[in-house]
């Protein structure tokens, strides 16, 4: 049986069926009847396969491996805390927390242990721009190797976030890169990418936006049209600006008529129409000609409550977060930070610093928290954890304490009240450095009533106090 052709013929006969292709003669099996011979051949072939030498792979290996990352890996306790947290998260809270968790790990100067990547797959897919190089490489590897494993939504969010960042840094370069790749993107993402040109919009974008008017998707054409209408000098821009300015006026008060106040008269009395009308205009454009210095405006506008959020938004577009906060704090019943987040404003268009500044400036003693924090989406607004200073101010503030007492009262008074989603929304954007303080603040609520929040804070606390980072060069235990 040294001739390999014999093996192939035998194999072929069993594969095709002996009724179609009888077995060739087999040395040593002459005395056997046909069924016994067939069974003997089957056994020989089977054992031959089981005794085969391992396959030589010279030159076949792809060389795939995860990139090096010199940062220390999470210590065993932090790894355990992270896996425990992930197991407790539902899809919605995972979506909310994933970028924050990954950003917190990065901010602590550490990285995920590569052996945990498969178990944290769902978390990583929601990680967005907070993913490190190793995690990105691993996700790419699994996406390429595992059919259906890639997440188009997650990829789109990544590309969108990356484009907005690039646009903030260098608007012209980002626009040119977009012009190169736009046609290959799906329609929904194309529309969002074009809409993102609102970051740093300038007349230089007009030519590209005009080409977008010929896009096959209506959503892209609409996004381009809206942006063209915001370009100074464009007829549509001038028309809108004139309408917006017409809503604002000046009145004088006091005995000497020296107190100047801003007036606001929405078109047709419709506040929502005004919100759309004001969109895209900076404060300086809107008040031009009214004779106010910007710093005088918050006081002058205090009497026109419906316009205050709109003016705050306009100030943000001018890059004046402190001025924006000054408008917000003049609301009669200020809710922090929901008033800001209820603005018709794409927070992603603002820089991280701007968002932090306006939040910090609008946190005053007078603000209150919504009891159940509905609409409280601080983490998404910040696109990462808040600054340590702001967090420390927040947990020391009266509004936070009042709100926390309200939640504790609800927990005590009703077993059916689930505080976990509320607390998680509140602590989601806390930086890891204040985890211990927040945990102490929540000590009155049993961990069993707040499993996700407790697991999240426990993980952040582990980041704050790593026991013994596992270095990349760590030798195996045995």
């Amino acid at each position: 049986m040294s001739d390999t052709t014999d093996w192939k013929r035998l194999d072929g006969a069993l594969s095709l069926g002996l009724s179609r292709q009888p077995l060739p003669p087999l040395a040593g099996a002459e005395g056997l009847d046909e069924p016994a011979r067939a069974l003997a051949v089957l056994t020989l072939l089977g054992q031959r396969a089981r005794l085969a030498e391992p396959r030589g792979l010279q030159g076949l290996a792809t060389g795939s491996r995860l990139p090096d990352d010199p940062r220390p890996m999470l210590d065993p306790k932090a790894r355990e805390a992270l896996l425990r947290l992930d197991r407790r998260l539902d899809a919605e809270s995972r979506r909310r927390l994933a970028p924050l968790v990954l950003a917190a790990i990065g901010a602590s100067g550490q990285r995920l242990h590569p052996f945990d990547l498969p178990n944290l797959d769902a978390l990583l897919r929601q990680g967005g721009t907070a993913l490190g190089p190793v995690e990105r490489a691993w996700l790419g590897w699994t996406g390429a190797s595992a059919p259906g494993a890639s997440d188009p939504e997650g990829g789109a969010a990544d590309r969108l976030g990356a484009f907005r960042q690039a646009r903030r840094k260098d608007p012209a370069a980002a626009r040119e890169a977009l012009a190169f790749s736009l046609s290959s993107e799906p329609a929904k993402l194309r529309a969002e990418l074009v809409g993102s040109l609102g970051v740093g919009l300038s007349p230089d974008d007009a030519q590209f936006l005009n080409t977008c008017l010929g896009d096959r998707a209506q959503s892209v054409r609409e996004a381009a049209t809206a942006l063209l209408a915001r370009l100074p000098g464009a007829p549509a821009y001038e028309d809108r600006l004139a309408l917006a300015r017409a809503c604002l006026g000046v009145e004088t008060k006091g005995l000497l008529r020296k107190i100047r106040r801003l007036t606001f008269k929405p078109p047709s009395g419709d506040r929502h129409a005004a919100a759309t009308l004001f969109q895209g205009f900076g404060l300086s454009s809107l008040i031009d000609g009214l004779g106010f210095e910007p710093l005088e405006l918050p006081e002058a506008a205090a009497g026109i409550q419906p316009a205050l959020p709109l003016l705050a938004r306009a100030a943000l577009l001018d890059g004046e977060p402190a001025l924006a906060a000054a408008f917000l704090t003049r609301l009669e019943d200020p809710v922090w930070p929901a008033d800001l987040l209820r603005l018709p404003l794409d927070a992603q268009l603002l820089s991280g610093e701007t968002r932090q500044t306006v939040l910090s400036a609008s946190l005053t003693h007078e603000v209150r928290f919504d009891p159940l924090l509905e609409g409280f989406n601080l983490a998404e607004f910040l696109d990462g954890p808040m600054s340590r200073d702001l967090a420390e101010r927040l947990i020391a503030s009266q509004p936070w304490r009042r709100w926390l007492n309200d939640v504790i009262q609800l927990v005590v008074s009703s077993d059916r009240f689930d505080p976990d989603p509320v607390l998680l929304r509140a602590v989601a954007a806390m930086p890891w450095q204040v985890a211990r303080a927040v945990t102490d603040a929540l000590a009155a609520i049993p961990p069993a009533r707040q499993p996700k929040t407790a697991a999240y804070l426990a993980f952040l606390a582990r980041l704050a106090a790593p026991s013994k980072p596992s270095e990349p060069s760590e030798t195996p235990v045995v």
Binding site: S15, P35, L39, G46, Q47, P54, S64, F115, V477
Partner: protein
Amino acid sequence: MLTLAQVEAMAPDQSALAAASKLLKPSAWPLLARDAATSVVWGEAQGSGSAPYRLMFDPADRGHKCSCPSRKFPCKHVLAMMWQFAEHPDRFAVGEPEPWVAEWLSRRRPGSGRPAGKPADANAPAPSMAALDPAEVSPGDPASQAQAEAQAAQRRARAEAAREASVTAGLEALDVWIGDQLNTGLASFIQRAQTTCRTAAQRLVDVKAPGLAARLDALPGALLSRPEPLRPDFLLAELGRLHLISAAWRRREGLDPALVDDLRRSIGWSVRREDTLNDPTVPRWAGEWLVAGTRTVVQPDRLRRTETWLTTADPAAQAPRAAVLLDFTPVQVGAGEAIPAGELFNAELAFYPSSAPLRALVAVRGPALATRMAPQGGASLVEALAAHHARLAALPWLGDDLLVAGSGRIVEADGALWAVDPDTDRGLRLAVEQNRAASPLLGLTLSGLAGVWDGQILTLLSASTPHGPWFADS
């Protein structure tokens, strides 16, 4: 309707009936139920263990099954349930069959139960409920006891002979079935695998060869789960292995006793744990054992098999390099407690007699010496495979085996991950299900690894890496 006379007629012996009479209290039965449509009855009998035994009975053809380890058919639990059904049918709640009852029904060949009125031992006096008078058999009478034991031994020997004859006939039929598959052609086997394997497995259950039945039942799933290019060789190996067992059974008189033990276990003879532990002749090895990893498989018979793979901590130790502890639990009960992967402990293992000892029991276990350890050091991957081949030569139908190597790399090639011997660049393909879990190992130099080798595919259990120990189940 079932009558007491029919129950008597089914009893294998008088003692089984006597034992059944002690189980008639309702408190011993957490569950008694019947299906109005088919008259099938089932129940749960509280035994000495934490989980009750599950049993069912089909009055239509007197078919029955019980999860207890009794070698009597029917056992005392089935007899007691039938007895109650005959006398107190009102104790049986009417309802839909439980999933485990439905599973049993689906696996049975209609009419496979033994007809009423034909006890297994035709020469023995017919068991009788009237004979249950305690005065008739005095437990304190040594002569009577000896006589009873001798009779019991005779009955066991006759039952054993009957089973062997049944298995012989069943394996001959198995060879015919394999021959039919060869005539039709293995290329088209996959299209008919599910149906034909299920039918053949049911026949093996009926001839009391449950081990082979389980193997055959699992064949279609195992075949489909592997990449297409590997399927032909896998099918050859599996069908060839079944024939090897069948052929060895016919020649068992001339085989080494250890190989006969292997053979009987492969076919489905169960060996009680206590018998192995109390047998002074079984091989035992004491030393430090490391849990290389665990695997859990749900078998077609709805039992969860938990495999705990052990390796000697010292590669140079004069002991088997590997051992596997097997635990079986009903799927509904939930997974039992396995020793965690990476635990190092002192233990004396008692190995089931075998020409290639692998399956073992923990006879004496000391405290854990360490946790989260992975194998390190020892032979190369190619040498480990050669050792497996030597074991395969000793036990030609050897199934899964543990490979332990002192070095290796994980690489991606030909659309799969491979564990590669760094000296020879020869590799063993990893299970495709492990692609994601094992991907962080890509490119790392491993200073030790352990995995279960099924002849084609390596299921990696643990490895020592520059990033620390890696475990498949963590």
